[in-house]
C-alpha cells in the first residue's frame, strides 16, 4: 500500500518542477489567478447590472419579484450544501481517507445536479411566461418593455454563465471521482482535489451575490 502511494507520488511530479511542494504551490497559485480572471469576467456583467438597476429601479424591482424567491433561496441552500461536501472531500483527501473522498465528491456532484435541475425548471417557467428576451418577450403590466427585457437579459446572462461554470465544475468532479476511485489521491498528493475545490467554492460565491441581486430587489413592495 505504502509503495503504491509512493509510486503515485513520483509519477505525479512533472518534469519542470523540482519538488512536489513547488508543484503544489504552483498549481494552487495558478488556480487562484484563474479565479481572478473569472471575477473580472463576471465583473463586466455586474457592471451592466449596476448601471441599469440604477437607471430603472422600479422596473427592476417589479421584474425581480416575478422570480420565485423561495425556490431561489432553496437553491442557494443546495449550493451551500455542495460547498460543504466539497470541502469535506478536500479534508478527506488531506487525511488520506479514500472512501470518504469518493463519497463526498459524489454528494457534491449530486447537489450540483439538483441546483442545475432547479435552474432548468425556473428557466422553463420564464419561457412559459414570455419573459425570455427576444421577439416573443412580453412582461405584463409595464408600459416600457425595454428595461424589463434588460433585467431578464441580465438574469439569463448571469445565471446562464453561472450554470455553464457549474456544468464545467460537474465535469471536473466526474474526472476527480474516477481518479479517486483508483486511489490516486493521498495526503501527499491531493492537489487536483484542492484546486477543483477552489473552483467550486468560487462558483458558489458568484451565486451568493447573484441571489440577492436578482431575486431580492425590494421584495417588501409585494407583488
Amino acid at each position: 500500500m505504502a509503495s503504491e502511494a509512493h509510486h503515485a507520488e513520483t509519477l505525479a511530479l512533472r518534469e519542470q518542477f523540482d519538488t512536489e511542494e513547488q508543484q503544489k504551490d504552483a498549481s494552487t497559485l495558478g488556480m487562484w489567478i484563474f479565479l481572478i480572471t473569472e471575477i473580472m469576467f463576471f465583473g463586466g456583467l455586474f457592471l451592466a447590472y449596476t448601471v441599469y438597476r440604477s437607471w430603472y429601479p422600479q422596473i427592476f424591482a417589479v421584474a425581480s419579484s416575478s422570480l420565485n424567491v423561495y425556490i431561489g433561496a432553496a437553491n442557494t441552500v443546495v449550493l451551500l450544501c455542495s460547498s460543504l461536501t466539497m470541502v469535506l472531500a478536500v479534508r478527506a483527501a488531506q487525511l488520506g481517507r479514500q472512501k470518504s473522498i469518493v463519497w463526498f465528491l459524489i454528494l457534491t456532484l449530486i447537489l450540483g445536479g439538483v441546483f442545475l435541475g432547479v435552474k432548468a425548471y425556473e428557466w422553463n417557467e420564464k419561457f412559459v411566461e414570455h419573459h425570455i428576451p427576444g421577439p416573443s418577450f412580453h412582461f405584463e403590466g409595464i408600459a416600457n418593455q425595454g428595461p424589463a427585457q434588460l433585467f431578464f437579459s441580465l438574469y439569463f446572462a448571469m445565471t446562464g454563465l453561472h450554470a455553464l461554470h457549474m456544468v464545467i465544475g460537474a465535469g471536473l468532479l466526474i474526472t476527480l471521482i474516477f481518479q479517486a476511485r483508483k486511489g490516486r489521491f493521498s495526503a501527499s498528493y491531493m492537489t487536483p482535489v484542492d484546486v477543483v475545490g477552489l473552483y467550486w467554492h468560487f462558483v458558489d460565491i458568484i451565486w451568493i451575490f447573484l441571489f440577492p441581486l436578482l431575486y431580492l430587489i425590494d421584495r417588501h413592495l409585494g407583488r
Binding site: E15, Q16, F17, D18, Q22, D25, A26, L29, G30, I33, F34, I36, T37, E38, M40, F41, F42, G43, G44, L45, L47, A48, V51, Y52, W55, Y56, P133, G134, N144, Q145, G146, P147, Q149, L150, S153, L154, A157, L161
Partner: protein, 541 residues
Amino acid sequence: MITAAVQEREHYLNASYGIKSWLLTKDHKRIGLLYLATITLFFFLGGAFATLIRVEPLTPQGGLVSSETYNKLFTMHGVAMIFFFLIPSIPATLGNFFLPMMIGARDLAFPRINLLSWYLLVVGGLFALFAMLAGGVDTGWTFYTPYSTTYSNSWVIATALGIFVAGFSSILTGLNFIVTIHRMRAPGMTWFRLPLFVWSMYGTSLIQVLGTPVLAVTIVLLFCERVFQIGIFNPALGGDPVLFQHLFWFYSHPAVYIMILPAMGVISELVSTFSRKPVFGYKFVAFSSMAIAVLGFLVWGHHLFVSTQSVYAGMVFSFLSYFVAIPSAIKVFNWTATLYKGSISYATPMLYAFGFIGLFTIGGLTGLFVASLGIDVHVTDTYFVVAHFHYIMVGGTIMAYLGGVHYWWPKMTGRMYPEIWARLSALIIFLGFNLTFFPQFILGYMGMPRRYHVYPPEFQVLHVLSTAGASVLAVGYAMPMVYFIWSLRYGKLAPANPWGATGLEWKTASPPPLQNFDETPVMTHEAYDYSTVIEEVIEVG
C-alpha cells in the same frame, strides 16, 4: 533546413523531428517559435491591408475601393495587427522562449497550457481569417455599438469570436508567466536580480490576466445584442451604447500597455548590453513597469472624451492619463542615463533601441496632447491620433520587437544574421516609418479625419508623402524576412554569448539544450554585472 555542421551537439531543435514533435511539443522554446511563425503571418496580412489603406488616399477622390471596402480594410488591419500580431508578439515569442531561461528554470510552470495558448491563438486567427475572406468586417476594430450590433451587414460575430478565443490565449499566457516568475526562479534569483525584461513580462501578465476577461464578456454581450437584440447597448430598448465603450476600453486601453511594456523590457536589455553597463536605476525601472500596469487601468475614459461620458468623468480620466506618462518617462530617462559613459556598440539591436527611444518619446509626448481634454476635442478621430498610436506601436513596439529578434536570434537558432544587411534594414525602417507617419501628425492637426478615404485636395501632398513612406517601410520589413531565413542555412555559427551580455540565457549554448541548462544555475551576483562575463564578442561591422 539547418546544415549538419551545427548538429554534432544535441539541442532543442534537433532533439526530435517531425511535425508531431512540433505540434505536440511542451517545450517553451519550440512553442515560442510556433508563435513566431504565426504572428509573422498575421503581420504580413495586416501589412497587406495597410498597403491598400495607404494606396487608396493617393488621390483626394479615392477611387480604388468603395467606402464600404475601405471601412473593411482599416477594420481588418486593426484586428489583425492588434489581436493577432502586437499583443502576442513579444510575450509569446521572446517571452515564452526566454522567460524560463532568464530565471534559470527548465520550462514554464504549465507547459501544456502554454501549448494550448498557441492553439487558441491559431483557432482565433482562423475565425478572423474566415471573416476576412468571407467578406470582411467594417465596424472598425473598436466595434462600437449600435453599428456593430444592429446596422452592420458584415462578419461581426465571426471576427468577434476569433478575438474572444485569442483573448483566452493571452489570459493563459499571462497566468503561466505569473506563476512561473513567482514559483520557478533558480536558487539565488531574487526579485531584484531578475533581468528587467522579466519585470516587464510580469507587469504585462498582470494586465493580460486582469483586463482581457472584461473584453471577453464584452464580446459575449455584443454577441447577445447582435443575435438576440436584448437591448443592452440599444437606446431604443433602454440601453446605453456608451456602456459598450466603457467595457471595451477598460480592456483596450490596458491592452496598449500589453503591447508596449514588453517592448520596454527588450529595450532595457538592449541598452544595457550594448552600452556594457547596468541599467541606470534598476529599481526605478522595475517599479515603473508595475506602475504602468496599474495606472494603465485607470485611464480608459480618455477614449470617451467626445462621447456622452460626463465632463466630470472626463476630467478625472484626463488627470489620471497624465500620471501614466510618468513611469514611461522615468524609463526613457534611465535608458538615456545608462548610455552615459557606456561603451556603446552600434550593432543592429542597438540601432533599433535608439530608434525606439526617439520614436517612443515622440509618441508618448503626443499622447499628452490627446490626454488633454481640450486638445482632444479637436484632434480626436483625426490622423493626429492615428500618428500618435503608430509612433508607439510601430516606432515603439515593432522596433523593439525587431531589435529583440535580432538580439536573441543567435541564441534561438545558433546562427548570426548578416550584420550589414540588418543595419541597412533598420535604417530603411526608421526612415520609412518617419516618412509614413510624421505627415499624419500634420494632417490630423489640420483636420483630416481618420477612417476617411476621400478628402479635400489641399491634404494630398501629405497623403502622398505618407504613402511613399509606407512603401519604403514595406521594403524595410521585407528584408529581415529574407536574410533571417538565409541565415538559418548560411549564417555564421553563433557562440553562446556573441554580445558579451549578462543574463542566464547567455550562459548556455546556442541553440540551448532541451532542458535549457546542463545543471540548474545558481544566481550569485546582481543583474547586469558585466564583471562576470568573459569577452566573447564577435567583431561587428
